[in-house]
């Protein structure tokens, strides 16, 4: 079972449909116990860092996520879900993130329109199972004004250029995170979910 964490932010329905495209068993849940019993978890999300963290705290989900990560349950963070994995964000000063990945979230530089909305390239700097069969410099759909910067540079697997080069694919252990929306990036985007299912179940999915 894959659990999409429902903390009240984000387009959960589209993420669910993308996973169901590969016939995955998917549930949307805000229950800590179900999260811990899952084979894989997805932390989705759109909106502001502070609001997202407050919702996770209100639903008492911080500890369950941390515990799942300790138990090496594969986790995929998407967009705001990627950012929440970090320690803090310039978007909401004083608010602690999940702190699962060391580093901070910063605002994209001024000069270009913000949010960064649209299709942009992901330059793969290192291979990772989550990017399996993805073409070099493929386009994905982005919608964000902030980006995460891990302290450990070797956690960066993909970068994207928007005024500056920022990390768009980040991974540590069994944690995978993408700044773009794979569920909105056409057939190449769907491959990210297929790859996640293969990481979780360790075998090829149908389709």
């Amino acid at each position: 079972m894959i659990t999409i964490i429902d903390y009240g932010a984000g387009n959960l329905f589209s993420v669910k449909k993308a996973l169901e495209y590969f016939n995955a068993d998917v549930q949307i849940s805000d229950n800590g116990k179900s999260i811990l019993e899952s084979n894989g978890i997805i932390l989705p999300g759109v909106g502001a860092f502070g609001a997202g963290m407050k919702l996770l705290e209100k639903k008492n989900l911080k500890d369950s996520i941390a515990e799942a990560v300790r138990r090496k349950v594969p986790l995929l963070g998407v967009c705001l879900g990627l950012q929440l994995l970090f320690e803090e964000s310039e978007e909401s000063p004083g608010m602690n993130g999940l702190g699962i990945i060391k580093g901070r979230v910063k605002r994209l530089p001024n000069g270009l329109p913000l949010p960064h909305i649209g299709w942009n390239e992901v330059h793969i700097v290192k291979e990772t199972p989550i990017l399996k069969d993805i073409r070099q410099n493929n386009f994905f759909y982005f919608v964000h004004s902030y980006y995460a910067e891990p302290y450990q540079e070797d956690s960066i697997y993909g970068i994207t250029d928007y005024g500056i080069e920022f990390p768009s694919v980040i991974s540590q252990d069994r944690i995978f995170a993408v700044q773009f929306h794979p569920e909105k990036s056409g057939s190449e985007g769907l491959k990210i979910y297929k790859n996640f299912l293969e990481i979780v179940y360790g075998y090829n999915t149908s389709h």
Partner: protein, 253 residues
């Protein structure tokens, strides 16, 4: 590099496409979801559904459309047309739409922009502005109710105001050029693009490949909304995108 977006607009009434039903390769060209899937395959970067249903069934048909589209189409899509409350926005986003576009209600009740941007995030709030050149205000006047009712607002200042209130994008339609197929209003588009720091989608007047190039290059728009040009099969999305790429515009192909 961030690419410029080509966005087909589908006019929907009572759950059916009302323009551009000439697609012989589709089983049911009046089915908005089938048409959406077709445009996705053709390389559309996003989709906009403009719902012009006036009946009391409106909300139900929109939700059905959103759910079906989100199950089968994996590119972003926006829903607009008569959306007026936070509750409606919540419902449309919950069932899989990425953005909603608000127009008349944004003018009537600007706090709707602020409130919905705060709850759902700026990225899903598109404010649609319909503007018409008006020498008496030395600029462009904002119209509401499908372009039929003039307001006191000037388009460039209204654009700045909606950005301040939290809009994530502006969908800018020129009433002067809409439906003419004689080209986008480059001057209006550029004036708005230069006044704000959020993406502007230009709409109204595409009749040739050059028109699209001009509004992206000279008008500096982030995206071009295209309706009749596609609906009447003058060009396919692929042809449009190949042309733009050849013209040196960053395009996803």
């Amino acid at each position: 590099m961030l690419t410029k977006r080509i966005i087909p607009c589908l006019d929907v009434k009572d759950g059916r496409v009302v323009k551009g039903t000439h697609f012989i390769e589709l089983r049911d060209a009046g089915d908005p979801v089938e048409l959406a899937e077709y445009y996705d395959k053709e390389g559309a970067d996003e989709l906009v559904f403009l719902d012009i249903t006036a009946s009391i069934e409106k909300r139900k048909t929109i939700v059905e459309l959103v759910m079906k589209t989100a199950s089968r189409v994996f590119i972003p899509f926006t829903v607009g047309g008569g959306i007026g409350s936070v509750e409606e926005i919540r419902e449309i986003l919950r069932y899989g739409a990425d953005k909603v576009s608000i127009n008349t209600q944004a003018v009537m009740n600007p706090s709707l922009i602020e409130e919905s941007a705060e709850i759902f995030g700026s990225q899903c709030i598109v404010v649609a502005i319909d503007a018409k050149r008006d020498p008496s205000i030395d600029g462009w006047r904002v119209y509401i109710n499908g372009g039929t009712t003039p307001t006191e607002l000037e388009a460039v200042s209204w654009a700045k105001e909606v950005e301040r209130l939290g809009a994530g994008e502006i969908l800018l339609t020129s009433i002067d050029t809409d439906g003419t197929q004689e080209g986008y209003d480059i001057e209006l588009t550029r004036a708005v693009v230069e006044a704000v720091n959020i993406p502007v989608i230009a709409s109204g007047g595409a009749g040739s490949l050059e028109h699209i190039r001009d509004v992206l290059k000279d008008g500096k728009a982030s995206a071009a909304l295209i309706a009749s040009l596609l609906h009447y099969k003058k060009y396919t999305i692929r042809e449009i995108k190949e042309y733009l790429k050849k013209e040196g515009i960053p395009i996803r192909l």
